[in-house]
Every structure is written in C-alpha cells, then in structure tokens.
Subunit: 369 residues, 4 copies
Amino acid sequence: MSINSFGHLYRVTTWGESHGPALGATIDGCPPGVPIDEGMIQQWLDKRKPGQNKYTTQRREADEVRILSGTFEGVTTGTPIQLMIENTDQRSKDYGDIKDKFRPGHADITYFQKYGIRDYRGGGRSSARETAARVAAGGLAREAIKALAPNLQITGYMVQMGPHKIDREAFDWEQIDQNPFWVPDAKAANDWAAYLDGLRKSGSSVGAIIEVTARGVPAGIGAPVYGKLDTDLAAAMMSINAVKGVEIGEGMSAAMLTGELNADEITMGPDGPEYSSNHAGGILGGISTGQDVVLRFAVKPTSSILTTRRTITKQGEETEIITKGRHDPCVGIRAVPVGEAMMACVLLDHLLLHRGQVGTNQGRIGPEA
Amino acid sequence: MSINSFGHLYRVTTWGESHGPALGATIDGCPPGVPIDEGMIQQWLDKRKPGQNKYTTQRREADEVRILSGTFEGVTTGTPIQLMIENTDQRSKDYGDIKDKFRPGHADITYFQKYGIRDYRGGGRSSARETAARVAAGGLAREAIKALAPNLQITGYMVQMGPHKIDREAFDWEQIDQNPFWVPDAKAANDWAAYLDGLRKSGSSVGAIIEVTARGVPAGIGAPVYGKLDTDLAAAMMSINAVKGVEIGEGMSAAMLTGELNADEITMGPDGPEYSSNHAGGILGGISTGQDVVLRFAVKPTSSILTTRRTITKQGEETEIITKGRHDPCVGIRAVPVGEAMMACVLLDHLLLHRGQVGTNQGRIGPEA
Amino acid sequence: MSINSFGHLYRVTTWGESHGPALGATIDGCPPGVPIDEGMIQQWLDKRKPGQNKYTTQRREADEVRILSGTFEGVTTGTPIQLMIENTDQRSKDYGDIKDKFRPGHADITYFQKYGIRDYRGGGRSSARETAARVAAGGLAREAIKALAPNLQITGYMVQMGPHKIDREAFDWEQIDQNPFWVPDAKAANDWAAYLDGLRKSGSSVGAIIEVTARGVPAGIGAPVYGKLDTDLAAAMMSINAVKGVEIGEGMSAAMLTGELNADEITMGPDGPEYSSNHAGGILGGISTGQDVVLRFAVKPTSSILTTRRTITKQGEETEIITKGRHDPCVGIRAVPVGEAMMACVLLDHLLLHRGQVGTNQGRIGPEA
Amino acid sequence: MSINSFGHLYRVTTWGESHGPALGATIDGCPPGVPIDEGMIQQWLDKRKPGQNKYTTQRREADEVRILSGTFEGVTTGTPIQLMIENTDQRSKDYGDIKDKFRPGHADITYFQKYGIRDYRGGGRSSARETAARVAAGGLAREAIKALAPNLQITGYMVQMGPHKIDREAFDWEQIDQNPFWVPDAKAANDWAAYLDGLRKSGSSVGAIIEVTARGVPAGIGAPVYGKLDTDLAAAMMSINAVKGVEIGEGMSAAMLTGELNADEITMGPDGPEYSSNHAGGILGGISTGQDVVLRFAVKPTSSILTTRRTITKQGEETEIITKGRHDPCVGIRAVPVGEAMMACVLLDHLLLHRGQVGTNQGRIGPEA
C-alpha cells in the first residue's frame, strides 16, 4: 500500500516537491517491448509546461524528463521505469513574511496539522508541480496503449471557465489545439481570452471544467465492483490538485432524468453493439461498453490571489495575507494535459488488468453466442 | 490487489450475487476491542431494506446479518470479521423471454462482454443487493469509529429528486428521519411523495442527488496524494451502483467561483482554527480541516422501467424489452444509507491510517508551535 | 492491504476461528469460465481432514465446503467466490483451569500482547483450522490452472519426520498415496509408523519436513524483484502455522556448494532449454525455468504435549501447564495438503500475473530469436 | 500492486539496473519528523560497497546516495523520499562473445523467456547492484525506528562459508566489525580468509549462511495470518539475489525436535515474560515475543566463475561459456548489510502497522490483567 501510488498493474508512484532538487514518477508494470524515448514523453510535458503564455504561471521550468531506468536499446524491459524531472527555477527569496502564515485555500494548514511540518517555500508536496510527474507517466502510458488498443485516442479540453460554457453545437475537435485554452469552440476561445486577461490583471482567479474523452476503448474493460473503470477514473481525477467534482457521462445531471431518457437503447451494428445515445459515458456496471468514455472534472480557482484574506499563524495569531507568487489565473488550463494523462494511465491499467483477469475479451455477441 | 475490496487498513471485501444463496462482507483490519453484536449492524441494514414502503422495491428480504468470525465475548478480536446475509427471496420464475436479451442501462451486456457469462436471473454481482454488504460493513465501522473520534457523526439525506431540489433555507436535521426519503425539508418530503407516486404508477423512474455530511471529523486525516480523503471518498461513492457523479464541497460549481469567493478565510477559535465558510467541503490538499466533510453524489434513474426499449440478444439480433421486476422508482432513496456506510468506512480507514503513519496528530497550532 | 489475504491477482482472504460458527476463504480474481463444484474442492479438504487415522487429531470435523457465491450453472463467473466450512465439533468443556494460562509454544501469549484478547477456547485465529480455508482455495486454484497450464501437476510429500529421512534412492511417486504420511518411500512409511506410534502413546510430538514439487510449470512465470516466484512461495509456506524454515532447490545446503557444482548447465532439447541438474529448484532470478519447481518447509512439533511445562498466567503469576487436547503427534502430516494448496495458489497467481504483465510468453529461444 | 515494492506502511520501491545511469529507492510511508541526512544512509552503503578488499568484486562504485525528495530542514516530511545512487563504473567493453549466450545460474535466460529482452551488458535488473537501493532504504528505516523502539538493534553476521561454520561457543559480538567477513568468531575469520583466498585465485566461488539478529524488538509486533512477522521476513530475505533458503529460530532443524525440546518455557521477569530458550526465534503465531528475533538465510555461490560451463544461445545453439567479470568469490559477504537492511525495513513496517491496527500495545501481562 503506497499512498503516493495509483494503478493496479500499471503502477505509478510520484515523488518530489515544488522546491526540492527534482521530482518524478517511478513506474512499475509497464509492459516490455514498448518503444520509448524521452522525446515521446517530453511532448506531453511541454503541453503542461508553465510560462508558455500570459495565462499560466510565469515560473520558468524546462521540465526536461530523463529516463533513468527500465529501458534498453529504445524499448521498455518490463522493469521499473524512473522518470525524473529536475527543478531548475527554485527561486530563492525572503519568506520572512509568510513563513508562519497559512495561506487560505491552500493545504499549508492541513499538512501542518497532519505532519507537523511547514515547508514555507511553496506548496511542497501539495504543489501542482506534482502533476508534471503524472503527465510523464501518462505519456509513457499512451505509448504502451498502442499495442493493446491501437485505435484508442484520448483528448482533453475545457468546457467551462467561470460562468462561460462552450457551445456544444459548435464543438470542433480541430479547434482544441488552436488556442491556449484547449477549447473545442473557436468563438469561446476568443471570448475567454478577454475574460481571463481581465482576471489576471486584477490578480484574481477562476475555476473551470475540463472534459476528457477516450475514443476507441474496447468493450469489456473495467473491474467490478471496487475497481470499476468509473471508480478508478473518479479517484484519478479527484486526486489532482484543486479538483472538487467528477462526472461520468450525464454526471450530476443524471439526477434529473427519467429512466426512459437515461437508458441508452441498443442496436446491432456491423462491428458489434451500437447505442442510440451515451448517457452512460461509455461505462455500464463499471465496464466499458465500447462507446466513447466521457468524463468531466471541476477545478477550483487557485487560492493565490492579490486580495487580502484573513488567516492565522502557526502560533494561532490572527493576521492577514496576500499570496503573491507566480500563479495561474485559471489552473484549469494546465489541468487539461493532467486529466488526459490520468485517463491514459487508468485505461492502460485496465487493459492490462483485463488481460490478467480474463485473457482475451470473452463474450462475443453474435450468432454463435 | 483485490478488485472487490476497498480500504487501506479497514479493508472490506464484499461478495455475493442477487440470486445466490448469500452475500456478505469480509472485513480485515477492524481494530480489536470494539463492542459489537448483530443488532448494532442490523439497524443500518433495516434502514436500507427493500419493501418498507411503496417507494422501494417490493422484493422481500429479511436482510438478517450473521457475524461468523472475528468476535469473542461481544468484542472484536482484531481478526477478520465475516458478515453474512442470506438471500431468502430468490423468487423462481420463467426467465424464458429475457434470458438472452440485454437490458438497456443495465450491466448485463458489459458483464457478458467481459466475462462471457450471462447470469439471466437478475443483476448478479452488478445488482444493488451488493450494497447490503456495504451497509453491514459501514455499521461495524460506525462502532469502531467511536473509540477514535467520539464526536464523529455521519448523516446522509436526499437533496434532489428529478427536477426537485430541497430548500436550503428550510434545512432541518430533525426532519431527515421523519419521511421515507430522508429529506431534511418537510415541505419537500410532502411534494416529492406525490411526484414519486405518479412516476411509480406510470412504471417510470427518476434520478436523485444524495448529500452525506460528517460532523466531528478531526483535522489532519487524509493521505496525499493518491489516497487523499476526497479521492477515497470519490472512489467509494462512484463504486456504488448507478452513481454518475461525485462532488466535494462546492463540487462542479467550484468552476464558477473566483479565488476571492472560494477561499475559506481562517480565524482562531477557542478549540483551534475556524473558517468563515466551507467551500472546500472540509478537505484541503486531501486532508481534513476539522470542518464538516460534505459530499454529494448523483444516482441515475433505474433502467428497469415499464416502457418498451430497443435492445439486442446475445446472438446479436435486434429486439425489444420491457423490464418488469421488483424495482425502485427512485433508487436514490435506498442509496442514502449506502452513502453513509461508505463514508463511515472511508473515515475509519483514514483514522487508522493516520495513526499508522503519524501516530498522533502532530501539528498543534498555538503559542508553542 | 489485507493482512489476512495473499496473492496478487488470485487473491485469497481467509477468515474464521477454531471455535466460531464457521471459517472460509473469500477468493477474488478467479478467472471466469472455470468448471467447479463442491466435490472438486472437497477432495482436497478430505485429504487434510482430521480424525482419519490414529496419527492425526481426533477432533471430528466434516469439513464440508459450501460455495456461496461466484458461480453460475457450474462455472465461475469472474466475481468473488465464497467458500464456507462450518465448524461442527466445537466441543464444549470446562476451560477453568487453562483459561488464564498461556500455553508455551502457542500464540496465546503474543495474540494477547498484541490484541489484548485471550480466546481461551482454543487457538482461535492462530489455530491450524485456518488451513482448511487454504486447502479449499487451493482446490479451486488447481481447477483454474488447468486452462492455463494443462500439464502442471503439484505433489507434496514428507521427506523427514524427526530424525528420520527418506531414502532418496528409493523415491517412488506411486507410494505417496499409499501410506498415512504421504511418504514416497515404502520402507520409511513402515518405519515411521512405529516411531510415531511411540510418540503418540507417550503424549509427545515431533517436527517434519515437507517437500512440494510442481511439474509442468511453464518457463517465464515470476515477477522480479519483490514478487519473485520463490519470494511468494517462501511467504506462502512461512505463513502456514508452525513452519520455521523454507528452502528452494538446494536451500540451506547451497551454502556448501562451489559455483562449479551449483550452476545448472544448459543444453538444447526438442522442446526448449534443458538443464543438467536442478540445484536452482526451477527458479532463476525469481522466474521459472521450466524445470520442476521444488521447495521444502520445516514444521515444528506441536506444542500441545502431555509433559508439564512452566508458564505464566495473564496476571503474571508463574505456574505449570499440561496441554491436553485433540492434537496431532506430527502436525507435519496434515501440512502436506496445505503446502500443496499454497503452491497451487501461488502458481495460479503468477500465471495470471504473467498474462497481465506480458501477455504471452515472449522470449522464444530458437533460430528466429 | 507494485511488484518492485515491498512493505505495507513503510513501502519501498527499488528501481534501476546495473548498467543504467542510476538506481534507487522510492520510499513511501516514512513517518514525518525523522532526522535524516545523506551521511546517515551512506554509512550503510559503504558497508556494502564493492571493491573494499580482495574478497569482493573489483567493480568500483562510489555508491553515493542523494536524497531528492521528502525532507525539509533535515527531517522527513511524511512525503515520498527518493534515494538515488548514480552508476559511475559502467565499464564499456566488447560484449560480442557473450551477447547472445545465457550464463548458467544467472537470470539471463529466464528474463529473456519472460520479457523477450536480453540486456547483455550485465545482470540488468537481476544484478546484485539492486541491493544497494535496499541498503539505502534500510539505512533510513534504522533512523525511523529510533523513535518507535529506541532499544532496537539489528546485527548481521556470517555463520557459515562453504563447509566452514562458526564456533557458537566462541560467539563474540565485538568481533563482527573486526574482520572482512563480519564473522563473530576471530578464529573463523582467520581460517576463512585463507580458504576464500584459494577460491578467489582459482576463479571459483562458494555459498554462505548469514544470520541476522534483532535485539530489543517489542512484544506484539506482527500481523497474522499472511503478514506475519516471519512471513514478511522470509519474503524479504528470499527476494535478495541468490538466496535459496530462510530460517526463523530453529529453522529446518525444528523438524528434528520433539515438543518437549521445542517449547520455550515461560517465566515472569521484572519487565514482563521471560523465556527459558528461544527455539521460536522470537516469533509465535507471527507476532514478536519480545525475545531476540533471529533468522538465517543461505546464499548460493555466484555463478560467475572461470570454469567453462555448457550453455546455449538465444538462437538455441549449444555452446560454452566462461563468465569473466568483476565478481565476488563469496557474495554472501556483501549480503550481510543487505540482510540487515531488509530486517530494518520489515521491523519498521510492522511497528507502523501495529500502531495503525492496534494503537498501543494492548495486552499487558500483570496483576491488573
């Protein structure tokens, strides 16, 4: 039982703090024979990397990943893979003022209450820098998935920022890579830019909702009843910093539907079952249906803002704080590649688990059944 | 790695199917010395028991729990506790018509695609009867919690049924036990009764949102970063049948907040830190703050309805189906004690885990810190 | 993390005490589609059953197993399998004399020191009755193995009882089932009978060494470096009551060999690599070579003897004790089917794990490599 | 489930190969507040370091450990601790001759059969270099133990090399650090030096038995029935490279004892129970008695010898091989600190686990019980 690990057979342990020498992911259970090099992983880290535009933190980190173990002659060997990212921008500064103050909305106070330690240099282990290690692990997972489910494709994108939602009618996969918010709606991208710029200038921040869709997931993946595909996805997303809600398919709105509306009817297509709709988000009873797996998660606004807030010190004195720093007005933007990475890790894990539990997909629907 | 288990130190494995001889929970890691008898567990099973009123399934199950191991002279011994519930109402009937048909919205089709098995007698392992075992495990957890966190109190209640939400202004803890829906709002209880009666008569069904609140949770409980308290709660709730979304604190609505609104300000009270609000739902960085832990989950409408839906057979032929049966028009009602039980199991687990990891709560905020 | 569980993908949790209503095994991860009925499991329980001859305890237990979940129409479904054995001979008696005394060599004192509980009715959870649940789980494992490794055959036998060892020159597989000791040496069986009869009459007891051989294990099974096949076998055997040592291949005698003697030379046979010898016990680097997997474990003499021993009470008073009871003069005899069962569980587990990790056996030695 | 991890609450994952850039240990679950620096860990690595005298491999590795995460201001924070050791002596050479040959007694062939990969540069993941990471993890464990069991002291030493055993009558704790073999017998140290020198010059190798004793282990530690203290110790030792047997207390010799001889009688001392002997090796029913915990493990001779052995190639051709290299004539010597490290990790793990499961040691023997 490692509390800093996730996954059953594709097991990822992340380690490292925001202001230590390095952070990384120790990955156990990657299948052998997967072609991999640092560039394949780096592309995803670059997507998450801070300081790329004015909408994300100005901390400058190269976020260069090194593979320290587990490969030989360009392929994985089946042994643990160590992915290390050195911290380069651990800006030295005078912490005097905030050293003993707890930042509201941050985990400073609870880490102190649990561990008795106050790492005043930054978020330490609770910093969003930890997600760089997740993205690295997800990049590897994507490569490993190729041999097991060649058509599987994972795409994350923002669907809401503050009060602004995308127009589902205007949804366009091609737009996602064309704007700094990974929004599948060109008009929204434009509108949001102005909105976020205003927030940034005022030193404020805002929340967001990210949707991640996996297309090409084979039917039959998932492990009832406590390792359900949706259970593991919910845990994976909720474990990301600042996430406060997770939805599969209809999500919270399922409460408003009647049984007639919610049940996706089944017909027979040339390649197997087809469904009239996807209220289920591609998962029934914790097992994939073969439809798109669709989830959403909500990210709260970062608590580092330029407005004065009331707080207390370690000594229990009441005081005030302004959290200056190099922070994102909408951390949801950089959560997009993190959500994709978690989806990749969970799906690879369940592809492997299914193979271990069942061998090959057993129940084929058709005349011979 | 047991896929039918959850928990780290308080480890619950449920077993059994809707139409087998029995079902139950194998519990490993309950501390020794907890006073327990079958009655203490039975009270929670009775809360979930079917057939209690016209709003829940008419299947008649005594749901009587037997303790088969792990106790001696009325207290737990530290060894595994086997809680068994025999199935008594496995009504024999002619399945001829639906034997080969998949019920839309149910897990029949995905279980078949995964395992190659079609248990046509009912939901089998995917049936909501599995949740009886969870409730039993939760009942034991409540007793074990008493020694570790004497003030901890867990309460579940419905906050939405279909389009109808409770009036938060009218929230009244005392009302929860006074109506068949566990609604903390007397007027809502009345209105919902009429609404649900209509649905029941028309053979339809509807979804719901359940909220579970834990009061008296000590600060410092939770295990970053992949065993966070909210991560484990999200997984626990999402693993319940028919759940499609989970929220902590503000949940999905956190997306709409600015940093100023979202950050709960901290002041110093007589017994430790106090907060101006609880947008965080009692959890920061995966660790409890000492505030109420508040979560919500959405339950989809049961897919067993009297309206004809299109589906296919095992042989891949298109056909239609009406799912008659002894089902609940709103399964969300009986999900209330299940949600409470999962909350109890997760909190006990983290109380134990905290003790193993840290000993006693280490960081005390005050003059001596 | 369940402390009463073992296995990675074939996960067995045993539960129950010697004097409770029942005991059993909750098995998670058995593949679907395995033909199974109670008789297939019962045959192995009958082999372990007490009271079969004068050399084993006179406690009379039917040890009848019931399958409570996880099967449908005679095959496993992929869901948890509950195997329950009811205790029938919980002889009521006056414990007055020994109620507060700790029996030397038994776990009474350490269980009390750990849990604060003294279950004076017998061994409780530390009783060898727990091994009945292991044997049931092993019986199921044997059936599941058939589809994965059809030639795999597991045989346990005694090779030493007290000072008496078998004659390796006289080793005869056919003899094993022909005598009450499962000894592969007819003469030894005869000699040991007289020896053990003497011990039994004098109320004494003696230790033993059991060897378990698995023939037909495919090459490539095992998971370095902390889930090695030999690591998991060592843990499995050491977890059996009264076991004090475990050896793989040469075992402790490997210390006396030189490198020249110890290295098994490799040649090429018609079906793959062949070895000139098997000092390794069929395992190199934690992975099976395709040779016989051979292990031995030593069982200490039961501590229940008719000779007075010094001991203390719960209150710390010095006293004496004679442990009357229905015990085995050589518990090693009944450890034979237990060792076989653990071997079966570990091998099935690693067959499944290998499939999950690697798919099919990847490295084929031959011209195309 | 990580196959490259061990431990329940003190969870160690090792990573890295003999010829990669680095190796290390990712440690999750170390309690917060443990004073630690690299020097405290380095002392144990130095004990294991190769090239220190003519009896160990001439590979020159500084084996310098770096702490990359999990500490702040000189104490552990409760977050994962990454201990990294860079490989510096990855001597480049012409592997042409042995590239496709399997070295008998090594894991080359089984790794290839499992993973389809032949890392011909050395042992790769199966190399004994992996044990450096264990020693680092053990060094940290020793520091963490100090707060939980201040009197706990772990000492490893050789008791047999080839046919030569120590004289138990001459056992002297003070001698252990005075000779290159960590032998508690001055005469043996002298004799063995001459013996091993002969083996080294002839290019041969020999096996050994190491004993590890833990003094000052509190009573009540250990977790029945599959996480018993002896079970976990057996697994820990058997997972070390080249280990073929593990014994607790009497070990394999327990087979030869009668019940009268084996049962350690109990008396009452000033600080609690005392025992007339320690056949049990300090463990009853998987739980510590408070006596010394004593185990032994056998290490086979290294298979890298200068004598020609028959083998095959990847292509299945029969051939011969001489394994030149920088190897140890008796790998058992360097296994001493590795055995100590594993003992430290297991004991710390069980101290933490006990705290999580039971809180404080519950059953006190004495007048008030």
